[in-house]
Amino acid sequence: MLRNYFKIAIAVLKRRKFFTFISLFGISFTLTILMVGTAFLDKVISPDYPDYKRERSLYVGSMELQNSKEGWLNRSNVSFYFFDHYVSRLKSVEKIGISSYSKASNAYINKKKIVINYKYTNADYWRVLEYRFLEGKPYAEQQILHAERVAVISKAIKKAYFGDVSSVVGQYISADEVNYRVIGVVDNVAKTMRNFAGDMFLPYTVSKENYKKPDLMGSYSAVLLARSKADVPKMKLEFDQMMKKVPIGNKEFDRLYCNADYFFASITRGITGDGKDSGITKAVSVLVALVILFLLLPTINLVNINITRIMERSSEIGVRKAFGASSRTLVYQFIVENMILTFLGGLLGLLFSALMIYFFNSWNLMDGVRLSLNFSVLMYSFLACVFFGLISGVYPAWRMSRLNVVKALKAQ
C-alpha cells in the first residue's frame, strides 16, 4: 500500500513541475534555516571542548543580593573566598574548577597591538576541564602555593605573540608589564564557550586582587564536579542547603541567592532568569514561539499550494470515493504523500544546510566556532520534518476527504 502511495506521490510531483518546485523550495528553505539554527543551539548546549563532563557538572556563576522591601538588587560574579570557604567543603563535590572572568590586556609586538584575554584559575580547573595541551603542562598546586608567575597560553596567542615557532615553553610573555613564564599551550576555545574561552591562564595567587577577602561577590565562577552522574542531584541539594546557612554580611540586603545549575539552566538564568527563577520555562517558550512564528508563513503557503493541487485531482478522488474508499483512507493517503514531499524537501534542506555550514566554517564567520551536522542535529531536523509535514498536510487532506463525489466527478 505504502509503495503505491509512493508511486502516486512521485507521479503527481512530476505532473506539475512548477508547483513541485515551489513546494520543495519552501520546504527545503524552511528546514535549512531550522537545521542551521539547531546546529547553533546544539553547539551551545551539548558538551564541547573543553567542557566534556557536563553530565557530572553543576555551574555556579552569579551571586545575587536582594533587598525585598525596597526592591534593590545587586548581582555579580562570585568571590574566590566563597568557593574556597564554603563550596569546597561540600562532601559530594569531587573537584571544583574555579576561574575568574576574563580581563583584557594589551601587548605590543613589532608595533602591532595584541589583545590578551586572561583568566585566573585554580589547579583543579585543569582536571575538571579537559583542555588539549599542544605542548607543556598545566600548573600544579605547588606552583599556585608559591605564586609562581607561570602561564598557560592559547594556540592563537602563541602565534600572535611569538610567531611561527615550534615550541614556546620556558619563554616569557609579558602582560601589564609583568613577565610570565609559559609552561603550556592549549588549543583554542570557541567564543561560544564564554566561561572557558581565554588567551592566557594564570594561577589565582598571582592575581592583584585580594582573593582571601571574605566577601561573597567577586569575579570568579566555578564548575562543580560530582563523582558520578547519579550524585549530581545530591550535590545540588547539598549546595542549596549550604546556601541557607551562608551569612549575608551586608545589612542593606535581606535575601541571598546563588545557584548551582545544570548547564542549560546556567545559560537561561543569565538571559531570562534571576536568582530565584532559572528562566528555563521562559527561554524555552520564547524559543518555541519564535519557531512557530517563523513556520507560520511557509506552512500557510504550503497549505495553499496543496489545496490547489488537490482540486486538480478531484476526478481521481471522486473515482476512488465512488469505488468505496473511506475518507480516512484518503486522508491517510494524502498525509503520506505530503510526508514524502516533506522528506524530499528535508533531504534538499539537509544538503543546503551542509553547504551553509561548510561556508560558515570555512569563512570563519564567528571566531573559532565550528558548526557540525551531528546525530542530534539530524534527529531534531527529522522531527522538524515530521512536524512540518503533518501541519501542512492535515488541513488540505481534510478538505479533500470532504469533496462531494458527484461534484468531483462532474467537474471534469
Binding site: F18, F19, F21, I22, F25, G26, F29, T30, I33, K103, A104, S105, N106, Y108, K111, K112, K113, V115, A175, D176, E177, K208, E209, F294, L296, L297, P298, I300, N301, L302, V303, N304, I305, I307, T308, M311, E312
Partner: protein, 394 residues
C-alpha cells in the same frame, strides 16, 4: 466595477481564506522589517554629536592601595597632568564606566517640578571631557572649578532632556530635584545630543555631572584624544607609562572607533540575518501567490472565454484579474493595518509613532507591488485566452 469584483470575491470567501491569511502574515512580517529599518534609518540620519576618531580609552583596575583620600586625589591629578603633557596627546579626561560606545550603563532619574523623568543616562565626566569628544555646547557653559564647591551641584543636560523637562522655556540656571527629590541640581549648560550607543540608536536623555574626588576611587577609565601622528609606537609607550604608574593594575587600551564599529555590528548583523530570512520568506510567498493565481485563472477559462466572446478586450480581462487580486490584498491589509496601528496607538517599545506610520505605508506599498507583480503574468495569460478554444472545452 469594484462592487462587482467584491461580490465575486465574497462568493468565494472560503476559497480565498488561505490566500488572505497568507497576505496578512506577510504584511506583518514586512511591517516588522520596515519598522526596524525606518527606526534605524531615522536615528542614523541624526547628527552623531561627538567625534570618536583618535579617541582612546585606557581601562585600569583601580585597586590603588592608598587609603588616604588626599594622596589619592594628588596621584590621579598628577597622572592626568603627566598624560596631558605628552606631545601626542590633545586632551585627557577621567570618566565613569558608561562612556560612549562602552557597554556600561548608569542611569538615574530627575524630579523637575511635579513630575519624574526616568532613564536619564548619568555621565560622570572629568574637566576636559568636552574637548575629548569635541562636544557642541548649545547653551550656557561647560563646568569650571568653582562648580565643584557650589552648594547646588551643577549639571549639564542634553537637548532631548532639555526638551522633555522645559520644552521651549529657558533652562539655564534652573534647578531640578534629583532622583529622590532631596537634593537640587543646577543646570548650567545644554549640549547637543550624542549617540552613545552607536549610529542606529537614539541619544536618549543624558546628564553630565563633574566627577568629584570622592568618585575617583571608583573610576577606572581614562579617555585620551591623541594627535593624528600618534601610532602604535606611541600607544605602546602610553601603555608602558600607565603600567608603570599604576603598579597593581591591568591596563587595556581600546580605540573608540573600533568600539563604535563593534557597537554598530551588534545592530547590523542581527538585522541582516532578519532581512535575509524575511526576504526568503517573501520569495516563498511570492512563488506561492503566483502559483495559486495562475491555477485559479486556469480554472476560470470558461468564464474568461465567455467575457472575451462578448467583446471584452484582452486588457480588460487581465485588468479584472489583477484588480481582483489587489482587492483581495486590500482586505488582508485592512485587517493587518488594524493590528499594526496598535503599535503607534499603544506606544509600544517607546518608539516614536511616526516610525510605525511610515513602516505601515511602506509595507502596504510593498504588498501591493508584490501582489501586482505576481498577478501580472497570470493576467497576461488570461488575456491571451482565445474564446473559441476556451468555450470549446466546456
Amino acid at each position: 466595477m469594484v462592487k462587482h469584483l467584491f461580490k465575486l470575491i465574497w462568493n468565494k470567501r472560503r476559497h480565498n481564506f488561505l490566500f488572505l491569511s497568507e497576505i496578512l502574515v506577510s504584511f506583518l512580517v514586512i511591517f516588522a522589517v520596515f519598522s526596524f529599518l525606518v527606526y534605524y534609518y531615522m536615528n542614523y540620519r541624526k547628527p552623531m554629536g561627538l567625534a570618536y576618531d583618535r579617541v582612546w580609552s585606557v581601562n585600569y583596575n583601580s585597586n590603588q592601595q592608598s587609603k588616604n583620600m588626599d594622596s589619592l586625589v594628588i596621584f590621579y591629578e598628577d597622572l592626568q597632568k603627566a598624560l596631558k603633557s605628552m606631545p601626542m596627546v590633545e586632551a585627557v579626561s577621567y570618566t565613569s564606566n558608561n562612556f560612549p560606545y562602552s557597554s556600561g550603563i548608569m542611569t538615574t532619574g530627575l524630579s523637575p517640578a511635579g513630575k519624574k523623568v526616568y532613564n536619564v543616562n548619568n555621565y560622570m565626566v572629568g574637566d576636559d571631557y568636552n574637548k575629548v569628544w569635541k562636544m557642541t555646547l548649545l547653551e550656557g557653559r561647560w563646568f569650571n572649578p568653582e562648580d565643584k564647591v557650589a552648594r547646588n551641584k551643577a549639571i549639564i543636560i542634553n537637548e532631548s532632556l532639555r526638551k522633555e523637562i522645559f520644552g521651549k522655556a529657558p533652562a539655564i540656571g534652573k534647578s531640578v530635584g534629583d532622583y529622590e527629590d532631596k537634593g537640587k541640581l543646577k543646570i548650567i549648560g545644554v549640549v547637543q545630543d550624542f549617540k552613545a550607543n552607536g549610529d542606529f540608536w537614539p541619544a536618549g536623555y543624558a546628564l553630565f555631572s563633574p566627577l568629584d574626588s570622592g568618585y575617583l576611587k571608583h573610576t577606572n577609565v581614562l579617555l585620551v584624544k591623541v594627535r593624528p601622528e600618534a601610532d602604535a609606537g606611541f600607544e605602546s609607550s602610553l601603555y608602558k607609562f600607565m603600567a608603570s604608574r599604576l603598579k597593581n593594575s591591568s591596563i587595556e587600551i581600546q580605540h573608540l572607533s573600533e568600539m563604535r564599529d563593534a557597537k554598530n555590528e551588534q545592530t547590523i548583523i542581527p538585522m541582516l540575518i532578519f532581512m535575509i530570512i524575511a526576504s526568503f520568506l517573501i520569495i516563498n510567498v511570492a512563488l506561492g501567490l503566483f502559483g495559486v493565481l495562475w491555477y485559479n485563472i486556469n480554472q476560470r477559462r470558461g468564464e474568461i472565454g465567455l467575457r472575451r466572446a462578448l467583446g471584452a478586450s484582452g486588457n480588460s480581462v487581465s485588468g479584472q484579474l489583477i484588480s481582483e487580486s489587489l482587492i483581495l490584498a486590500t482586505m488582508s491589509l485592512a485587517v493587518g493595518c488594524f493590528f499594526a496601528l496598535q503599535f503607534p496607538i499603544m506606544n509600544v517599545f517607546n518608539v516614536p509613532s511616526i516610525v510605525y506610520v511610515i513602516a505601515i505605508f511602506l509595507s502596504i506599498a510593498f504588498i501591493y507591488v508584490l501582489v501586482f507583480v505576481c498577478a501580472l503574468y497570470p493576467g497576461k495569460q488570461a488575456a491571451a485566452i482565445h474564446p473559441a478554444v476556451a468555450l470549446h472545452e466546456e
